[in-house]
């Protein structure tokens, strides 16, 4: 009993200490609401700190922002259907004191432009166009459809999950790009050292271009996938788990460094190119 009481006291002290730290650190919580029309455009630029955006009610953009110090302030503006928010760093702000945490809900058909240097960028349940940029920020897109998805990172990992009918362009220098159940008329990933990992069925009549300099490319598809695959690594190994119907290759390659073939009706085109990374087309285990 005594032990439990002591543990409870310790917990209370910890909570009070954390609350005290938060108070001392000068955290400020701000709530913003914007009335918007159909297809609004929302732009958030937050150098340090996460930006989490979800689809919500129509005609309203709601923002909850937690500022970690008085070294950063919010600059906000609205012009018709356009809403813009910037975490404005004041003199002396750094990667700790300049942090602002954003949680935002927007109409599902809103278009977004989000930028963060280091904070996580997360977009979920949206049908509008998404432009997401982060230096080392991880970028996540979940359960989105029918929009353009443009992602740029330097080191930040990129995760696209359940993105339907998207026009998707991802470019990253060193971040791994992971796609699960992603399809659309145009899906392109351009990486330097980061890996490109795709797991999906390549949809219907889409074009999928994955390119890297040294990063490995791994694409996993089910046996029913309908694809024409062209794969080549100039200085790396290339491997396929499928018995593809061979097609004439448009280039001369060393054995084991390229293949070109079709599976089923070859509805979608899949191009996997690397300079020195390993390329593996894997068959999904049932």
């Amino acid at each position: 009993m005594e032990k439990m009481r002591r543990a409870g006291l310790r917990g209370l002290v910890a909570v009070l200490a954390l609350a005290g730290m938060a108070f001392a650190a000068g955290e400020t919580r701000k709530q913003l609401h914007f009335k918007v029309g159909t297809h609004p455009m929302v732009s958030i630029n937050n150098p340090y700190g996460p930006i989490l955006v979800k689809g919500g009610p129509e005609h309203e953009v709601s923002v909850v922002a937690v500022l970690h110090s008085n070294k950063v302030e919010l600059d906000q503006g609205q012009s018709g259907n356009r809403v813009s928010i910037v975490s404005h760093l004041l003199p002396g702000a750094d990667a700790t004191t300049g942090i602002v945490d954003y949680e935002v809900t927007v109409p599902v058909n809103a278009s977004l432009s989000l930028h963060s240097d280091t904070g996580r960028i997360h977009a979920e349940k949206l049908h509008g166009d998404l432009t997401l940029e982060g230096r080392s920020a991880a970028v996540e897109v979940w359960d989105c459809a029918n929009g353009h998805v443009h992602v740029k990172t330097l080191d930040g990992a990129v995760t696209l999950t359940n993105v339907e009918n998207g026009h998707i362009e991802v470019i990253s220098m060193g971040g791994n790009v992971v796609m699960n159940a992603v399809n659309g008329p145009y899906v392109t990933v351009n990486s330097n050292t980061g890996q490109i990992l795709y797991d999906g069925d390549f949809g219907d009549e889409g074009e999928y271009d994955f390119t890297s300099h040294t990063g490995n490319i791994e694409a996993t598809a089910p046996a029913y996938a309908s694809i024409e695959v062209l794969a080549r690594s100039t200085n790396g190994p290339v491997q396929s788990d499928f018995s593809l119907e061979p097609k004439h290759s448009p280039f001369i390659g060393k054995v084991g460094s390229a293949f070109h073939g079709t599976l089923n009706k070859a509805a979608s085109s899949v191009n996997l190119f690397s300079f020195s990374g390993k390329i593996h087309l894997k068959k999904r285990q049932q």
């Binding site: 913003l32 914007f34 732009s43 630029n45 150098p47 600059d75 906000q76 503006g77 609205q78 012009s79 356009r82 809403v83 813009s84 928010i85 910037v86 975490s87 404005h88 760093l89 990667a95 300049g98 930028h115 940029e133 230096r135 080392s136 740029k152 330097l154 080191d155 470019i171 220098m173 060193g174 351009n190 330097n192 050292t193 390119t211 300099h213 062209l230 080549r232 100039t234 448009p250 280039f251 191009n271 190119f273 300079f275 020195s276």
Partner: protein, 217 residues
């Protein structure tokens, strides 16, 4: 001037001043710029320690012994640590700065021995500091990018420099392959992708923490 020459003259430079040669090297070498930034930070912090008690001789002897073990000072230079070495410093408050400097240099140069390496002992006693590789030359346009991020923290600048090297390497490889086979449209596409990566670096180098151009609410 390369990195080795720069480090050789660094300790003789008065605080915060550099010759034109040194400044030119600093502008082109993120690694040395990072080292100087670290040293300036240490020096600034050390000023706060003016009032603190100077550690006893045993501490300095231990540091000297550690530096000797690391191979950072050689037997030929063996002198009483306190007198000639410290006299090079103008004020006593720089003593802890010097100790911190030695530790920073030691950490930067320290290479842990590999497991099972029979030459470990010989390597540890090998004379002095191995020369650091000279950084890749920076083109005018790349210099522009690096100057855009010059105000960022050293680690961020170093990452930009590394990514710049990676993008240039991709461009070089793709260009060479495209030159070898001008009809290879796929390699031409790779080359375009490589340039797109360089464009990405420029895009993300821009500081966007300014006010929006929309009307305030």
């Amino acid at each position: 001037m390369n990195c080795v020459e720069f480090e050789r003259v660094l300790s003789g430079s008065p605080e915060g001043t550099h010759t034109a040669d040194q400044q030119a090297h600093l502008d082109s070498c993120p690694a040395c710029a990072s080292l100087v930034a670290d040293l300036e930070l240490i020096t600034a912090k050390a000023k706060l320690l003016i009032a603190s008690d100077e550690p006893g001789p045993s501490v300095w002897n231990a540091i000297e012994a550690q530096l000797r073990r690391e191979g950072l000072i050689r037997s030929a230079e063996r002198v009483r640590v306190e007198v000639p070495f410290w006299q090079r410093w103008r004020t006593a408050w720089l003593i802890p700065a010097a100790a911190a400097l030695a530790l920073v240099v030691g950490l930067k140069l320290y290479q842990p021995p590999r497991v099972g390496d029979p030459n470990t002992v010989a390597k540890q006693t090998a004379p002095a500091v191995a020369p650091r590789p000279v950084a890749n030359p920076v083109s005018k346009e790349d210099q522009q990018l690096l100057s855009t991020v010059a105000s960022r923290p050293p680690a961020v600048r170093a990452r930009y420099r590394a990514h710049l090297d990676a993008a240039n390497s991709f461009i070089h490889d793709a260009e060479e392959s495209a030159r070898n086979d001008p009809d290879d449209i796929y390699m031409q596409q790779m080359l375009m992708n490589a340039y797109e990566q360089k464009q990405l670096l420029y895009d993300l180098a821009i500081d966007r923490s300014s006010a929006p151009d929309l009307g305030e609410q």
